[in-house]
Every structure is written in C-alpha cells, then in structure tokens.
C-alpha cells in the first residue's frame, strides 16, 4: 500500500468508552487494509454539541487545540470515526478561515493553530482514498445473504459546504461499501433523519420517538440489522432499544452494527477484535446467517 494512506487519528471521547467497539473495529480494519492511523498524542475533547451551544469561539478553540497537535505531527490529514467530532473539527477549520475569528480562537490557546490540516471521516478515506475495488479485493468472507439498512445519521454529510463529502440528503458511501462486500443494502428512507442525539438523558421522550421511528422503518423494509457510522446513533438504537420498545409498545430485536464491524467480518478479522460482544442487542443469529444461502 502506498505511503499516502497515512493519517493522524482522532478517536474522540466516546471511542474510549461507550463506543469502544467502533474504535476497536476502526483500528482493526485499517491495520488489515494497510492504512496507518497515528493517534494524535494527548488529544482532548472537541466539545461536541454542548460547546457550540455556549459559544462558537470556545467550541472552535477546543477543536483547534487538537488540530494544532496534528500540525505538529507533520501530517496533513486528520481522520475521525465520530461524526460529531468531525463536524466540530471541520466547522472550526471552516470558521477559522476568517482572520478575525481565527485571532479570537487563538487568543484562547497556548499554541495557535494556523489552519493547514484537512479533516475527514474514516468513512470518507475508505471510499475516496482507498476505493471500493481495493476494499473488495481484500474481502475473504463476503457478507452474502445479509440484509441491512445503512443509517448515516444527521451530520455526517451536513451542511454540505462544510462537510464536503457524499450527498447531504442521500448519502451512499456505506451502501456502496456494504454492497461491494456482498451484503444486500435495502433502500432506507430515513437514512439522514436525526435519532434524537444526546437528548437520551435530559429528554428521553424525544429519543424514544425519533429512534423508535428509525427502528420501525428498518423493520418495515425487512432489514435484519441496522448499520451506523455514529456513536450516538448506535447507542440510541442499540443500548436504548428495550426502553424504546417499552415506551412505544414495540418488540424490536434488531442488531445495530458499526459499519467498521461488518467490514471487519468481511476481512476475516476475529469477532473479539471487532468488539462484536460489546453490542447490546445480540447479533448472533444475524452473523450466523451470513453466507448461509451458499451452504444450503
């Protein structure tokens, strides 16, 4: 693999905790695919949604501290699996292209950030830098027979001028990857609808309603599993699925994978390394069904 697939890696706070399986599976597939991830030394929180609801300069400074660390690593691109981290890093970069705003942000920092780092999601480098053909060529266990709905969440691709990747209303990156790896990706009408985000704690009713709709729609189209690219979406749909069932009188039992876990399975990586056992709704039956059509 060429040297170009060499990036600074920003795991994000949830990657060390509630979405540890996203971080594990991301590292595992990148290692297998020859993509080098250099963890940003001593990275700190991007501030997520709470920071930008308080102040944009503060929010950008929390991101810019990390971007300045990447600058020191002499790497031009930072990648992160988390759409919320991504949106903060990208928005900070976007806003700091204005001199006055950049000066205000730098006033809050020990080390000023000059603005030379590009930020991308791991999903973006897989489809744009690695490419579907290269990915497909590495698959040893195709995901045949697996019927999934690819759910992107709201902010991976929006707003388009800032995120600058895929389609803001009808993204296809995950659909295309999973299709290339042999899965059947069903057309999912709610692929960019919000899951209720971080309101699970302060206003649970909102998540029960919005994530409930996503699970209903996934079941209606006959998906055996949902596939996500966002720690918060995954947590709402998986960890809270029982709460959603109780609140809505539903009986969903739909496993919710990170797309990196399914890529990992196709690449023949051990389930343990992909953190499959960390998922709340058991994916056992669904995983056992992969390739079953061939065997029969």
């Amino acid at each position: 693999m060429s040297d170009s697939l060499n990036y600074a890696y920003y795991p994000g706070c949830s990657g060390t905790g509630t979405s540890i399986e996203y971080d594990m599976s991301t590292r595992a597939i990148c290692a297998k695919l020859g993509i080098t991830l250099n963890e940003v030394p001593d990275w700190s929180c991007c501030g997520s949604t709470p920071a930008h609801t308080v102040d944009h300069t503060l929010s950008s400074a929390l991101s810019a501290r990390n971007l300045a660390l990447v600058e020191k690593m002499n790497l031009d691109t930072a990648v992160t699996p988390c759409p919320s981290c991504l949106t903060n890093l990208k928005t900070a970069t976007h806003r700091m292209s204005k001199d006055e705003f950049r000066d205000d942000v730098n006033k809050l920092l020990d080390t000023p950030y000059n603005g030379g780092v590009d930020t991308k999601s791991v999903l973006q480098i897989l489809v744009e830098d690695m490419g579907l053909d290269a990915l497909k060529a590495k698959a040893v266990k195709p995901l045949k027979g697996l019927k999934v709905a690819a759910y992107y969440g709201c902010i991976m691709n929006r707003p388009p001028e800032v995120m600058n990747f895929d389609d803001p209303e009808h993204p296809m990156a995950m659909d295309n990857i999973l299709t290339a790896l042999g899965a059947t990706v069903l057309p999912f009408p709610l692929k960019v609808e919000c899951c209720g985000a971080s309101f699970g704690i302060p206003r649970k009713d909102i998540v029960m309603s919005l994530s409930g709709k996503l699970l209903d729609a996934a079941e209606d189209i006959g998906a055996e599993a949902l596939v996500t690219a966002c720690p918060l979406c995954q947590m709402n749909l998986d960890l809270r699925q029982d709460q959603i069932n109780s609140a809505n009188g539903a009986k969903h039992n739909i496993p919710v994978f990170y797309y990196t876990q399914l890529i990992g399975l196709a690449l023949g990586i051990d389930e343990k390394e992909l953190g499959i056992d960390k998922l709340c709704v058991s994916p056992r039956t669904v995983i056992n069904g992969i390739g079953a059509e061939d065997a029969s």
Binding site: C13, G17, T18, I20, C45, G47, I155, E169, D205, K278
Partner: protein
C-alpha cells in the same frame, strides 16, 4: 401563533445583534416553511423553526429568547441544508441559544444541566468522563432514576470507566475555559 403587535414591540437592535453574531441576513427568509417541514423536533417545539425566524424578523426578543425550541434543537442541520435561500438556520438557532444563556433564560432546565455537566467534565478532565458526567447531571437535577436500567447492560461490557481520563494537556484545556471566561467578561 399568537398575534404580535410589532408597532409596540419591535426591537431593531435585537435583529441587528442576531445578524451580527450569526453573519446571516434575516430578511432573506420568506417563510416557505422548508426548515419546519424537515425539522425532526417540531413535535416538541413551542415555536416551529420558521416561526422563530419570523419572530426574529419582527424583533420579538423576549418571545424568541424564552422559547423552549432553542434548547430542543439538536443542530441536525436539516434546516440549513434545505433552506432555498442558503440561510444557515441552525447557526441562527445556536446564536439565539447563546443570547438566551446571556439573558438568563433556560426554559428546558434538564437540557441546560446536561450540557453544562458535559462541559464541566471536559474542563476538569480534558476529555469527557462519562460516569462523572452522569453523577454531576443527577446532582444538578435530582433525577436519580434516569437510565438506571441501562447500568446492567453497559457495565459488564467494560464500556464505561470508573476513573476519569488522564491527559497531560488537562491544564491547557482548563486554560482555554479560563481565557474564554475572562474574554466574555470584557
């Protein structure tokens, strides 16, 4: 929507302030309603987002700043993405939240407490300490039974740490917050 007598209550400085802080031209909104049509949160809003836009145009400072909608917007960017006049509506909602905070409005206290607990965790540890965040949120709100059912699901999976993260740059992050507080008092 209630009837607003703008000859008595139009506050032009409010409109100018929103435009200055958001960098958006409020008069571009012609009330097509696309933002509201796509907003997943209208069902819990007291004012749908297009009405917030109209109330800002009409200079209705108090009605806007005390609206629950500002605290229930998740910044999902549907409105911004779909606005036919390229107004960054989500940015305006963010700026209105900043103004509401400054003026002391917090009509959805649980949301404010959650965001504040999150940021104090970042300020203290440099990264979010998830269990610490929950404890601080419960202490602020008294909501002891929030998500108690999730504990047995999460804890055996080793996804939550009982000790806060330790990073060397913790003090650098604290300095960002301190300088921010100093700058905002100027």
């Amino acid at each position: 929507m209630e009837i607003v007598n703008i000859t008595k209550s139009y506050d032009s400085s409010f409109v100018k302030q929103v435009e200055k802080e958001s960098g958006q031209n409020m008069s571009l909104c012609y009330q097509c309603g696309n933002c509201t049509a796509g907003c997943p949160y209208t069902f819990v809003y007291d004012q749908p987002v297009n009405q917030i836009m109209r109330l800002v145009q009409a200079g209705q400072k108090e009605t806007v700043l005390k609206s629950k909608s500002l605290w229930l917007c998740a910044t999902c960017e549907s409105c911004t993405t779909r606005c036919p006049n390229n107004i960054d509506v989500a940015h305006i909602m963010d700026v209105l939240r900043h103004m509401a905070r400054r003026e002391g409005y917090a009509p959805v206290p649980t949301v404010k407490s959650f965001w504040d607990s999150f940021l104090s965790s970042v300020e203290k540890n440099g990264r979010v300490f998830e269990i610490g965040l929950l404890v601080s949120y419960i202490a602020k709100t008294g909501r002891f039974w929030t998500d108690v059912d999730l504990g047995p699901k999460v804890l055996p999976k080793g996804k939550m740490h009982f000790k806060p993260p330790q990073i060397q740059g913790k003090e650098e992050v604290q300095k960002i917050f301190n300088r921010f507080k100093e700058e905002s008092q100027k």
